[in-house]
Amino acid sequence: MITTSALQVRFGDTTALHPLDLDLPGERIYGLLGRNGAGKTTLLSVLAGFRKPSAGAVLFDGAPVFENVRSTSRICLIRDDGMVGDGTDNLRDVLDMAAMLRPAFDSGYAAELLDRFGLTRKQRLGALSRGQRSAFAIVVGLASRAPLTMFDEAHLGMDAANRQLFHDELLRDYLAHPRTFVLSTHLIEEQSPLFEQVLILHEGRLLLQSDLDELRERGVSVTGPAQVVDDFVYGLKVLSERTLGPTKQVTVFGGLDDERRALAGRYALELGPVAVQDLFIHLTGGVP
């Protein structure tokens, strides 16, 4: 579906994306995670052809993306500002425009979604609240039915009920019309069940690309007496450590084999799972 090779983006002297090789097979839902400034928006912009790569290539079904309408008309990126038209346009104008410009746009579905989000066609885009604007941008994104649809923090300002509606509609429409979605988000616990794979971007580099369930299984917390824990985790990749009196809890990454697990049982160490959000925080440098 979409691949990059040695893709690089620089802004003057600063490098936003270091040479990046990415391969995202089609008809999956991907989560793109990263701290502020990790390069998520830059990556999505360059994947959508909003920006030209400084070096390297972005290929969509084998064809270049930037300024190639065969690719761009099948890619939809909804950005966090939710501006999918001019502020003076009313929602009807924007939907009509999208229907003219987008080959697969489904106006009937857009009307249905508009209703469900409680928006009306006469409202002006510039007069919507932040959350309403996000909801409208999501309507446009979903109704575009683009084979590659990307949402860059598109839920910004939306209340919990509307976010849930977004997630329900995303899944419903994904099942009815399988296509590829990429969602960048900071709402890790809320949105990660939707993902088949996660990509973690850190300081302009791809830190990790993994099935979500595999990622969950790779993180293990080990709790017990400090000395015993230290001996047990020797040689393992330790992400974080916390102590409370004589007790120590260590988060290790990479999973434990059966032998190690048996060993933990013999030493009476407590093994526990680690939430995806905690893994993410630890993998991207921890809490400062």
């Binding site: 909003f50 038209g85 003219m100």
Partner: protein
């Protein structure tokens, strides 16, 4: 997907809007003319021609809004290349339609003035005289198309902002002076030669080349300009 989606979109939405705005403005001109006649007696100059002096700047201002359109069509999956190819076509069609409307308004005014016994005098430096409708039409097509493409180029250049942004105002000003001379806004040697399209076409071509140079790789900013 039908061909030329951007041009079709602009022609079906923006152009009717512009026609309505222009027609409304001329109604306003008629009202002002009526008040002026009541206050100070018979009209001695063409009100339509007086009002026509701001069209130039309105067209530049409308053209200057091009980057918002460009960004929006890119957001909806179209390319800059398509925009730069289709937007000027729309501008030329719009210039012709609006110039036809303007010419018609001149004619209507002429009928009114002759019925009332007033003189429909034109502004100095105009390349056309009252009643010379082919020239009125050509001069307005010329003025509108130069102003629209120049405004678009300047808008995109400033939107792009990488150093060249402010510098773009120099060639833009040059094109506007040139265009102003053609349709009689300024008095330059070639202004009165009676061949507006012969000087307009190179101006529009120059504006289009500048627009293409600025727009063809412009990255989208994080916000679509208002």
């Amino acid at each position: 997907m039908r061909r030329f989606p951007i041009a079709r979109f602009l022609l079906s939405t923006h152009l009717p809007f512009l026609v309505m705005v222009l027609a409304g403005s001329y109604l306003l001109v008629a009202v002002i003319l009526g008040v002026a006649v009541l206050v100070s007696g018979p009209a001695s100059v063409s009100a339509v021609d007086v009002a026509g002096q701001v069209l130039h700047w309105l067209a530049v201002g409308y053209g200057y809004g091009a980057p918002a359109l460009l960004a929006t069509v890119v957001v909806h999956g179209r390319t800059r290349r398509e925009f730069v190819a289709q937007h000027p076509v729309y501008q030329l069609v719009a210039a012709v339609v609006l110039a036809a409307l303007i010419t018609g308004v001149y004619a209507a005014e002429a009928a009114l003035y002759s019925a009332a016994g007033w003189t429909q005098a034109m502004q100095p430096d105009r390349p056309f005289a009252a009643g010379d409708y082919p020239m009125i039409f050509l001069a307005n097509v010329s003025m509108l198309s130069i102003a629209l493409v120049t405004g678009s180029f300047a808008g995109v250049a400033v939107y792009r902002r990488d150093g060249a942004g402010a510098l773009a105002l120099v060639p833009a000003a040059g094109l506007l002076v040139y265009g102003g001379a053609v349709h009689g806004f300024f008095s330059l040697p070639f202004a009165q030669q009676g061949l507006p399209m012969a000087v307009t076409l190179p101006a529009v071509a120059a504006g289009w080349v500048l627009l293409w140079a600025c727009a063809r790789e412009v990255p989208l900013g994080n916000r679509v300009p208002a």
